[in-house]
Amino acid sequence: MIKLTKPLQTLILGIFVIYALTPVYLVILAAMRSEADLFSGPLTMPWPPNWQNFSRVWGDSGFSVFFMNSMKISASVTILVVLCAPPAGYAFAKMKFRGREPMFALFLAGLVVPAPSVIVALYGNLQTLGMIDSHIGVILPQAALLLPFSIFLMRTVMQDVPDELIEASTMDGATPFETFIRVVLPVVRPGIMSLILIVFLFSWQEYLLPLVVLQTETLKPITVGAASLQGRYGVDYGGIAAAGLIAFAPLVVLFLAMQRSFVRGLSAGAVK
């Protein structure tokens, strides 16, 4: 029997905060230093903070372009998924039709697909479709790969919509589509908010697909740009750190801003 007293509990919480945030702190530190030397001791933040690394990396080599590309791709993927997944989730949750279970299993099977396995076949297909070296060649496959998780989440969320609500709407003469738009969607709004956040997050972090599909420098998103940092900047750790921060800071901000609905929606999906 462990006596897990309140102070001890707080200690545990604190340890994990350190675990979570120390690497983040290190990156901020390296980005703020004017001398790009990782190997000198002090772990204290220089004051005033040095923004040179950021401005250099942002303007330099089009890092701002990478950022915009990530925004464009992730936003497009999110929109596409939000158009496809909720209706599908609704169908699986509330409609009875032939082949429902096998079809759902088919979608779920997509959860397991590892990128390196399919990338070669996918590349060949994209080449045939003329989508190589274009954003659409990244957006469509990414959205497709995120569908299994999204549909699963949407189905779970939709299952909670009271049947009475739907029946009432049908009896009022609404078509299934109208019911979906006017009655169901408002009820599952938190779930959709979470979906948006998760999809955006996953899409922002995607590495292998854009690396392989996009060749023109000005099309690349931030993960690809960040990965080539070590080749491009070599020993410039200040630059790498600044670029890394640019790569994930927006996500952190977005997440912190939306964490209320995020927690609520995500949990709704998984608890059942």
């Binding site: 190997f39 080599s61 070669v120 590349y123 070296d133 060749q215 080539s228 491009r232 020993v235």
Partner: protein, 427 residues
């Protein structure tokens, strides 16, 4: 419609067709910014060479440094390759692409433009079954970058024998300075270091006996080389945990004055020169490690220009004219001055004349004085399947987890498999 009109239309459309611009698509890895940025030099050269290609234009795409080898493989499998690619490695991998018909033969252009400065060594590496399929451009050498100040402070003069090198390393070790900075997390740096040690222990002839002949890897000379490499690790020449340290981190360690030497190649000259703000940088050649072995160093071409077999003949002609310009005198100077890149055939005198950085001159003067004995870069010479065994096995060897015999046995096994699969390259 009368005959005159028809004829006019025909003439106009023919002329228009002839004047339709030839576009040569080019993939390369010269990055645009950051420390090793030869990208701007490449752009400048494209402009400089525009007159030479008579109206055609070059459409350039930069691949990230992790990407071009892998991107090219995807492109071949999808059936659509860029007209020109400056990619690597040559030898077996180039031969593989030639074998499946992805590359255009270049013998005609070699003759037309007289690229005689590309000697037999380089030509061999870029051929398949007697035909040339690649145009190597840069010369890459290996050497020992060293910290002149640290050497002076510890009273060490430039090693001219292997024994002197070892003594220097021991001195630094006792003084608490890392003798040779080395970061092998990426797995490829060890293959370069091993290539150098192999050439200086077993010699070029022994290498060729294995690579092109029937001698197995498990021979005494190779065993000695493997043991020498392992000894360096055991004797503490390298920083602690080198198998987990990145290549750039190791270079940073050297450039920050914490290590006396680092053994790598001319491909990081740009990085080294620009990063050597705190140290006084010099270069020397590693002496032969066994009596009777000639002085020499590892050399190769880094990358080579490949022409796609599916490019139209106009495109191919334009690409060849463009390459000819890139190898020409005017271009050579730009390469040296703007990108610290030395084109094959550049002489040490020219380097001095063009005001190349002293370290560049030092490096190439030393390296080019031993061309007769310079030896092979393993990981751009071996078949890829063998390279993928070499990478981890070397890590295990220098990590002290396998013996030289076990290492060589593993290499011989994968070597035999590759030969059986027809993957071996011979010049």
């Amino acid at each position: 419609m009368n005959k005159f009109a028809i004829r006019a239309i025909t003439i106009v459309s023919t002329v228009t067709a002839v004047q339709a611009e030839t576009v040569v698509t080019q993939w390369d890895q010269f990055s645009q910014s950051g420390i090793s940025a030869a990208g701007p030099a490449m752009d400048e050269l494209i402009l400089t060479c525009a007159p030479a290609i008579d109206g055609a234009s070059i459409l350039r795409t930069i691949a990230p440094s992790i990407g071009i080898r892998d991107s090219y493989r995807l492109a071949v499998s999808a059936g659509k390759t860029p007209d020109l690619a400056y990619t690597w490695p040559a030898a077996s991998v180039l031969a593989g692409y030639a074998r499946v018909g992805a590359l255009a033969p270049l013998d005609g252009y070699y003759e037309q433009y007289g690229w005689d400065h590309i000697n037999d060594f380089y030509r061999g590496r870029n051929s398949y079954e007697g035909s040339l399929y690649g145009v190597p451009m840069e010369q890459d050498l290996m050497g020992v970058y060293y910290n002149k100040t640290l050497f002076a402070e510890h009273g060490i003069s430039l090693p001219t024998t292997y024994a002197e090198f070892q003594a220097a390393a021991e001195t630094f070790k006792s003084a608490g300075i890392v003798p040779v900075s080395f970061g092998n997390r990426g797995r490829w740096p060890a293959t370069n270091t091993f290539s150098l040690i192999l050439g200086l222990t077993a010699g070029k002839a022994a290498e060729e006996a294995v690579l092109f002949g029937d001698t197995p890897w498990t021979n005494d000379a190779f065993k000695l080389a493997a043991e020498n490499f392992q000894a360096w690790a055991n004797d503490g020449y390298f920083p602690r945990g080198f198998n987990g340290v990145g290549y750039d981190e190791a270079n940073a360690l050297f450039l920050s004055g914490n290590a006396a030497m680092t053994i790598t190649g001319t491909w990081v000259l740009q990085d080294m020169i620009r990063g050597a703000t705190d140290i006084d940088l010099g270069v020397f050649m590693l002496p032969p490690m066994v009596d009777g072995i000639e002085a020499g160093t590892m050399w190769g071409e880094g990358s080579q220009w490949q022409l796609s077999a599916s490019a139209s003949s106009e495109t191919q002609d334009a690409a060849a004219a463009y390459l000819n310009c890139l190898l020409g005198d005017e271009a050579k100077q730009i390469w040296v001055q703007k990108a610290n890149t030395v084109v094959i055939g550049t002489t040490p005198e020219e380097l001095s004349e063009w005001g190349a950085d002293p370290v560049v001159q030092e490096f190439f003067t030393a390296g080019l004085s031993t061309t007769e004995n310079n030896f092979y870069d393993l990981h751009t010479t071996l078949p890829e399947s063998v390279t993928q065994v070499l990478y981890p096995e070397l890590q295990l060897l220098i990590g002290g987890e396998t013996t030289a015999d076990e290492f060589l046995n593993k290499m011989q096994t994968s070597w035999e498999l590759a030969i059986a699969n027809g993957e071996r390259w011979r010049p």
